[in-house]
Amino acid sequence: MKAVSVPLLVGIAKLFSGATLRWVDCQPDTCQRIYFANHTSHLDALILWASLPRNIRALTRPVAAKDYWVRGPVRRYMAHVFNALLIDRDEIKVHNSPIDMMLKEIGSTYSLIVFPEGGRNTSSEMQPFKSGLYYLTKKRPELELVPVYLNNMNRIMPKGEFLPIPLLSSITIGPPMWLEPGESKNAFLERARKAINELQDI
């Protein structure tokens, strides 16, 4: 079933977003990575995932909001097709940490797509990052952290709308980064945020 539905969903996502993908100081690779991106639309995860090269796409799981993607059979099926890792945003507890769940799910093969702003942003400036990215890399320091800048997604489907419009967008993938030894949480999160901001002007 997925042999048909995956290319179909990828095709539709690419057609609707008109996304062009650029790799800047970064090569496509199937090694384990955490792609972190700015978040302005529910379609971010789907479009970024669909735009990745096929062999990488097969090994990459986007982290998405459970409350949105389980509502209704269409969304649930789409989330199943793009292999989303659904996180319950309302029930984040210490003993049920989403970080542990993500790490368990990706094992030693999959890569992740995460949105460290936590929720979709409506202003032009990125919101401060939530600490999840820091804990992810603290627990698995060998994973490459790859910044991704998504442009124009919020116009394809803004917050509060349920139908997308077919505009054009672009995706810029920047050079990988790692947690520096002894780097504090806030300094790291700020550096990660800056890494995405720098991709805006390239």
Partner: protein, 352 residues
Amino acid sequence: MTLFDFRLFDQPTLILLLSNLAVLGLLFGVGRFLRRKSESELDINIVRSFNRNIVAWFIVCLVLAFALMIHWVVTVVFFWVVSFWAQREFVTLTPTRPSDHRTLFWVLLLFPIVQYLLVGFEQYALYTVVIPVYGSLFVGARIAFANDPERFLERIAKIQFGLLITVYALSHAPALLTLENLQTYNSETGQMQIWGGANGGLLLYLVVIVQISDLIHFVVDRSLGKHVIAPRVNQTRSWEGLIVAACISAVVGVVIQVFLPVTPFQVFGSGFMAMIISIMGSSGGMTMSAIKRDRGVSSHGMMIQGHQGVLDRIASLCFAAPIFFHVTRYFLEQPVVETARLTILSQIAWCV
């Protein structure tokens, strides 16, 4: 049923198409040659840009030829696809507010499809008004209903103008194929008679003249251009380019009509039409430059990183097509007496 439909192609049209492709091929060769030795004499970017234009026109002519041969409706669909790409570029280029989302949904998905369907079903009385009347009123009202008065008129103007240029104007190019009962002047009898040519010729004539005018404009601006028309809008487009392009287009129009009569025009009429097409094409290029300059995008740049501008390439065609269509139809289409409606109307009039 045969695979190819040659009703839209008579012999002169086919020859015009082939010679056009040959000329483009030749120019492509010249471009490649210049590119190789360009380091010393010419700016490499200009040569690249020239080569890109040639390749784009070559592809357009080739696709158009195939579309015309298969079925004229395929040509309509082809232009719909081009419109769709151009319009999404246009909307991407001009910022809108989140409250315009639903207006844009209808404007991007409904109106273009309706417009091209009406062209496909040859509903002249509808496709000439559906966007300028229904569409433009709808855009204003729908944005008002969205409860966001900020920069209201500006947003309406952007969305309406995009729809008008990329969909309405461009749809008049395939609409040329639907013109029926065109008349032509017969110099032997001195009377007007029904034109026996193929409509594909008209469309090809338009495309060829627009393309020649564009290329000449491009070359003359960069070689002889001294008097720039509007430096704040576009730093290269010059009066020399505009005038030379219009004159050479007129000559080409005359030459085409003498050797390959693909249009119902007389020889000088064809020159005049070619001149109109050329001037409209230049105006289209200027307008697109102004839009991009307003948005702070440099000329021939990318609207959003990594996208080649379809809009750049078709701006001149968008401006030339509706005028060419209208002038041709206004002067040459034989008026059809709508007897049925007249009788009903006159009956009502009599009753009253």
